[in-house]
Symmetry: C2
Subunit: 223 residues, 2 copies
Amino acid sequence: MSKKAIILLSGGLDSATTLAIAKKDNYDCYALSVNYHQRHNYELTAAKKIAKNFSVKDLKEVEIDLSWLNNSALTNNSLSIPENLSTGIPITYVPARNTIMMSLAMAWAESIDCTDIFIGVNAVDYSGYPDCREEYIRSFQKMANLATKKAVEGELLKIHTPLIKLSKKEIILKGIELGVDYSFTISCYQVSPDGLACGKCDSCRLRKAGFENAGLPDPTKYL
Amino acid sequence: MSKKAIILLSGGLDSATTLAIAKKDNYDCYALSVNYHQRHNYELTAAKKIAKNFSVKDLKEVEIDLSWLNNSALTNNSLSIPENLSTGIPITYVPARNTIMMSLAMAWAESIDCTDIFIGVNAVDYSGYPDCREEYIRSFQKMANLATKKAVEGELLKIHTPLIKLSKKEIILKGIELGVDYSFTISCYQVSPDGLACGKCDSCRLRKAGFENAGLPDPTKYL
């Protein structure tokens, strides 16, 4: 019998590749998307396409309105998405986002007898978000294994981060090898309602450069 | 200027006492309640009364439907609330509940420049939930301080657990001293829609015994 895994599926390039890796590793895949009233909510449509393409056992979309987080450009539409390179942690950082999402994954995992969670965090070609770093993920895992009934009973949770040390180029090459159709994915922070990417934001730039470095055509539809 | 604090306010006896302690410690209090579609959702009404009574700066009720957690009697109404003492972690345990709530508190804290979170967990007269233990809280704090932009900038989050080592009797005596009106609070897991407690569930029994041991009249309205 296959083991179950929960995969955090945003609808972006990284999470799609992560799902493909979990599938290749023979897990029964349960995808979790979070509708946090993000500016780029087209990504939820993308997540549905990807989940269908990989025949996940279940796709759960959990809604939690975080539009009151007024200090992030992804939850506060009156802040602009930066279109130039800058230093430091950008304004697109969403406080506690990965912690909220992983805690939901933790809850779902425990309720379906699953001890494996996959998240596509990456600390090479990334925006510098602190909750994408390996030390954060390891610390979350430790905390989770003090929090749950399953852990008390000896069934420990494992957080898998297969992309953590890969460059965007390597992620794309891995995904292509595993049959990811990247035209289904969207990375843009200010994607249009019909799914067109801006080509200018941090996330678009990282993605574009990834395809260029991989020597592959970029299937993204730009404005 | 006072410092800000976020207080997780369920509407129960412990969280009301925790709010009173934060207030006494001169914090500007921001209360956070979570509507997770809990069976005993009357507690959200109680939380509003308590928040008003203590003149909090803000009360935020965040909604997140966890009714798909079908293995807990607090989120799955078809499971019965136990009315007899049992051993082990009871079926009223909700997977990852405190982690989800604290991650929301973490997000709110970062967005309002607050570095103090209060939670009324207690590991003496409690139901044995693993996410009420001190080691869990300490681990959460460590994780949070690897997750946020504020922490990277040197502003570390502190999780306060003023009740962790108190008995229910001591919690009640402390609350009375600080002016908590316990008739506003509700602890029952199967409280009626008009706020009457069953007197039989784990939470009712712990509360009842607390008032008895404190030698104080129990203001709870029972069925």
